[in-house]
C-alpha cells in the first residue's frame, strides 16, 4: 500500500507508480523536523567542531572547476 507520505506527491493527471518506486525507510512517526528539534540541537552542540572560529578561518581551498 502506498503510505500517506507518498500520497502527497500525487497529482490526478499522472498515473500511479508508487508501488514500483516507493521511497523506502520513511519514518511515519517523524513528520517534521520540529518534532524532536531539541534532541537534534543537543546533538549538534555535541558534534559541531569545537574550534569553529579557527576552523572556518583556516578552511581555505584552491579554486576548482
Amino acid at each position: 500500500m502506498p503510505s500517506e507520505k507518498q500520497q502527497e506527491y500525487k497529482d490526478n493527471s499522472i498515473k500511479e507508480n508508487e508501488e514500483i518506486y516507493p521511497n523506502p525507510e520513511l519514518n511515519e512517526n517523524v513528520d517534521e523536523l520540529t518534532e524532536d528539534l531539541d534532541a537534534l540541537l543537543d546533538e549538534i552542540d555535541e558534534i559541531l567542531e569545537e574550534d569553529s572560529e579557527e576552523f572556518v578561518e583556516n578552511y581555505i581551498q584552491r579554486g576548482g572547476q
Partner: protein, 495 residues
C-alpha cells in the same frame, strides 16, 4: 527517435586535515585517492588520447586556455572503478565521477556510492597520519572565501540539436531551478551583494551567460564539446552551474527535471520563449529570494517568478512527452516536481525534509534561536560547512538521514551495492565488468574506450554509443569468454 537518456555527474570535494602544520590540499587529495586505489587493483591508466576539453560546442578550439591544462600535472592520480565510475585528483580536490546512468534514480545511487567511496578512502588514509590528525571531506562548493569547486552534470544529447537552441531553451530553466536544487549557503562572496543566507552555493560565481571556462568567469551555459562518444551523433552537455547536493531527493529532482527539459529542447517544444533579460543578475537575485516570489523580467516583457517559470516548463513536459518517454521514473520525477512547486508557492519552509537549502535553513534557524547567534558568527558558518561533512558520525546531513529526518529515494543496501557493481543498462556495464573480470589484461580506459593487453597484444575497443555495452547485449559474452575471445568476438561483430 529521441536520444537515449544518459546522465553522469562529477563532484569535486573540499578537503582539510585537522591539526596539520600546513594545509596541503594536493597532498591530502592524493593520499585519500591512493588509499582507496591500493586496496583494489593493478594500475590501469586513463587514456587521455580520447579527451579534448578545449573543443568549444560553438565550433572552434580555444587555444588561449591551453596552458592551464598543461600545467595540471596532478591529474595523473587515477582510479577507474569497478562500478564504471572514475576517482582521481583534479587540481587540488578529490573528484568522483559516476558511471553513465540511464535514469535519475540510478544517478542518485551512484552519486551516493561515491560519498561512501570517499569516506572509505578517508578512513584508510587516516591510518597513515599522526594520531592527532584527522581528514575531513566536504561535499560542498565553496570555502566561503571566494574559492569554488564544482559539481558538474552531464547529459547526452543529439548532435542535430543546435547549440544555440540549447542556450536559448536551457538558460531560463537553469537560472530558476536553484529554488529546487540549491544546497544553501551562509553569506555571500566573489564581490556579490551581501546576504545572511542564500539558496545556492554556486550562484555567486557565475559571471557570464555562455563560455568555455570552468574555473574563472564561469558561464551559466558551458560550451565544452567533448562528447566521449560518437561525435557525429552526440554531444555531451556539460552543466557546471549546479550545487553539490547531500539530499537524495534533491539530486533525484535536479537531474530528473533537467533531463526532461533537455528532451523538450530536442523536441523543439522549448525554444527561447522564456528568455530572460539579465540571466547573470537573475541567478544571483533568485539565490537571495528565500520566499521565491520575486518577479524576473523576461525578454518579451513578461514578469514571472522562478516558480512560475519552472511551472511553465513542467506544463510543457506534461503536455508534450510521449508515452514512451514517460517511463515510471520520469512520471515520478514530474509528480515530485509538481509537489515541490506547490509547496514552494504556499510555504517554502514546509520542504524541510526534501530540499537541501530548506533542510539546512531550518536547522540553522533553530540553532540561532537556541543560542542567540548572529548569521555572521563562526558557529553558524561551521554548521553550514558541517552539513556537508561526509563522516557519518559528524556530518549533519548524514545524522539527519540516520535519524529519519529527511526523505530518501534509496535504501542504504542499494547504495552499498553500487560501490562494486556497474549499472546494467549503459556502457558502464561493459567497462565495470571488464575491470572486474580482466584487471590484469587492461592497459588503459577512457569513457569511450578500453585498451586490452591480452595474450595477442594491445587491442583498443571503442564504445562510441553510451547506451550500448549493456548486460542485455554483452552480458553472456562477458561471463563466458576469455579476454582474447572477447576482443576477437567484438572485432568480428564490428566488421
Amino acid at each position: 527517435m529521441s536520444t537515449p537518456t544518459i546522465i553522469g555527474t562529477e563532484t569535486e570535494f573540499g578537503i582539510s586535515v585537522k591539526n596539520a602544520r600546513e594545509q596541503d590540499p594536493i597532498a591530502a587529495s592524493t593520499l585519500v585517492v591512493n588509499a582507496y586505489r591500493s586496496r583494489n587493483m593493478p594500475t590501469i591508466s586513463w587514456d587521455y588520447a580520447q579527451e579534448s576539453p578545449l573543443m568549444d560546442a560553438r565550433g572552434f578550439i580555444d587555444e588561449t586556455q591551453k596552458p592551464i591544462v598543461e600545467e595540471d600535472t596532478y591529474s595523473v592520480i587515477n582510479d577507474i572503478l569497478v562500478n564504471g565510475g572514475r576517482y582521481y585528483v583534479d587540481h587540488a580536490h578529490p573528484e568522483y565521477c559516476t558511471p553513465e546512468c540511464s535514469n535519475a534514480r540510478d544517478l542518485v545511487k551512484y552519486e551516493k556510492a561515491g560519498e561512501l567511496i570517499l569516506d572509505l578512502s578517508r578512513l584508510a588514509a587516516e591510518q597513515l597520519l599522526l594520531d592527532n590528525q584527522e581528514i575531513i571531506i566536504y561535499k560542498n562548493n565553496t570555502d566561503y572565501k571566494g574559492h569554488s569547486y564544482g559539481s558538474h552534470e552531464n547529459y547526452l544529447m543529439s548532435r542535430k540539436t543546435d547549440f544555440s537552441d540549447i542556450v536559448g531553451g536551457l538558460t531560463p530553466f537553469i537560472v530558476t531551478r536553484q529554488i529546487i536544487t540549491g544546497s544553501g549557503k551562509v553569506g555571500a562572496e566573489n564581490g556579490t551583494d551581501e546576504a545572511d543566507f542564500q539558496i545556492s552555493q554556486r550562484a555567486d560565481f557565475f559571471e557570464k551567460e555562455v563560455g568555455l571556462s570552468t574555473m574563472v568567469e564561469r558561464p551559466i551555459i558551458n560550451t565544452r564539446d567533448e562528447p566521449h562518444a560518437d561525435s557525429t551523433r552526440y554531444r555531451r552537455l556539460h552543466v557546471i552551474v549546479g550545487d553539490s547536493n547531500m539530499s537524495e531527493f534533491t539530486i533525484y529532482l535536479k537531474v530528473g527535471i533537467t533531463a526532461i527539459v533537455l528532451q523538450l529542447i530536442e523536441k523543439r517544444v522549448v525554444r527561447d520563449q522564456f528568455a530572460l533579460n539579465e540571466p547573470v543578475a537573475a541567478i544571483k537575485s533568485i539565490s537571495r529570494d528565500l520566499m521565491c516570489n520575486q518577479k524576473i523580467e523576461l525578454k518579451d516583457g513578461r514578469n514571472l517568478t522562478a516558480i512560475e517559470i519552472q511551472r511553465a516548463y513542467l506544463n510543457l513536459a506534461q503536455k508534450h512527452l510521449s508515452k514512451d518517454e514517460r517511463t515510471p521514473i520520469v512520471d515520478d520525477v514530474m509528480q515530485k516536481w509538481d509537489f515541490v512547486l506547490n509547496r514552494l508557492q504556499k510555504e517554502p519552509m514546509s520542504l524541510g525534509r526534501h530540499l537541501d537549502w530548506i533542510i539546512k535553513k531550518k536547522l540553522i534557524d533553530a540553532y540561532i534561536a537556541r543560542h542567540g547567534f548572529k548569521w555572521t558568527d563562526p558557529q553558524v558558518r561551521m554548521l553550514d560547512l558541517q552539513y556537508h561533512d561526509l563522516r557519518p558520525d559528524k556530518g549533519l546531513y548524514l545524522r539527519l538521514q540516520k535519524n529519519g529526518h529527511v526523505e530518501r529515494i534509496l535504501t542504504h543496501e542499494e547504495v552499498v551495492h553500487a560501490i562494486q557493481h556497474p549499472p546494467l543498462d549503459t556502457r558502464a556495464y561493459f567497462r565495470g565488468t571488464c575491470l572486474r573480470r580482466f584487471p590484469s589484461h587492461i592497459h588503459s580506459v577512457s569513457w569511450n574506450s578500453i585498451i586490452f593487453n591480452g595474450p595477442s597484444g594491445f587491442e583498443k575497443i571503442m564504445m562510441e554509443r553510451p547506451h550500448f555495452g549493456t548486460q542485455e547485449i554483452v552480458g553472456e559474452m562477458l561471463n563466458t569468454c576469455t579476454v582474447d575471445e572477447l576482443v576477437n568476438q567484438i572485432r568480428d561483430d564490428c566488421k
